[in-house]
């Protein structure tokens, strides 16, 4: 089962190539169309875990000579992606996130970075959103942070610690 969220029309760019004819959007020539083919870390994570599952199930009698490259890259990429916030995400959270982001008027690339990194501070938002001082006021940045942290799940241990600290503060104030 594949999520088709990333599919949309791709423009054609012809490149000189001995063997392959590539339909590829160069990020430097046509920036807008390049974003049509972007994949989020979550989608790649799902794809690789499914592939790993399939290969495990299909038996161990595959000759490993040619498969070594695929094994290496799959292992390393999964290792890296598993340390990012996408490991707590699901298709529903991604969908909810995109719906919630509609009101904030961000570009596709900016929304993708917010999805992949789950920023918790205003400084990170300023890095990912271009010209954020002109486009977003402080309240908007705050509300953006709120949306991101509430919809995208973070590290469950950290969230429990934060909620414990919050109840402690309330206890002190009472």
């Amino acid at each position: 089962m594949k999520t088709n969220a990333c599919v949309s029309s791709l423009a054609e760019v012809s490149l000189e190539s001995a063997e392959w004819k590539l339909k590829f959007i160069s990020a430097y020539f046509r920036r807008k169309d390049a974003n049509a083919a972007l994949l989020s870390n979550f989608e790649v994570f799902q794809l690789l875990t499914d592939l790993k599952q399939q290969r495990k199930e299909s038996g161990k009698n595959k000759q490993s000579s040619g498969q070594q490259n695929l094994n290496t890259i799959m292992y390393e990429t999964l290792k890296y992606i598993s340390k990012t916030p996408c490991r707590y995400q699901s298709p529903e959270t991604v969908r909810d996130f995109l719906i919630a982001m509609k009101g904030h008027k961000l570009t596709k690339a900016e929304k993708l970075q917010l999805l992949n990194h789950r920023p918790v501070t205003a400084v990170e938002i300023q890095l990912m959103v271009e010209e954020s001082e002109e486009r977003l006021t402080e309240e908007q940045i705050e509300s953006l942070l709120q949306t991101v942290t509430s919809i995208l799940p973070g590290d469950p241990e950290e969230q429990q610690r934060d909620s414990e600290m919050a109840t402690e503060d309330k206890g002190d104030q009472a």
């Binding site: 590539l22 339909k23 994949l39 890259i73 890095l127």
Partner: protein, 206 residues
Amino acid sequence: MFVLVEMTDTVRIPPWQFERKLNESIAEELNKKLANKVVYNVGLCICLYDITKLEDSYIFPGDGASHTKVHFRYVVFHPFLDEILIGQIKSCSQDGVHVSIGFFDDIVIPPESLQQPAKFDEAEQVWVWEYETEEGAHDLYMDIGEEIRFRVVDETFVDTSPTGPSSAEASTSSATEEVQKKEAPYTLVGSISEPGLGLLSWWTNS
């Protein structure tokens, strides 16, 4: 970080694999050919996403294998310009800080793109950010293994396909010169000269 690239290629399936399903053989061949390889001007190929179209298979005289033209989509690592990435410091040298993401190692942050002022500590071979506050200068070391957030500012593709046989003069040169300098086919240049970039520990407010 990842993009989907549509490609077309002709895949050769040898006769002893004819009993397998064509889709599986083709998927395996494509992964064998492209996974963990850099394609010039495209990026580092990760794995096959799907096959969009299979054209008719042909058998050519003299070769028992079937040749099939395949249209497919491949997952490729190709960060866009100005993207923020998080990696680990692999090493430091005079040319700058070398960062790795596990599956991709050729990322360099040159000295001019570090948080200024920065100096290179020869004794420990690490770069240091001399952070100034009212109390005086703090030396923030960029140690190996630390997680670092950086912005991609440039990328370079080098065509490393083998060149033809060298001319007569070159072939008489000494053996050491014949060893070609190994150039990375795909390198990224990063920058951490903005607030929020650099070691993650510099910016956490806990």
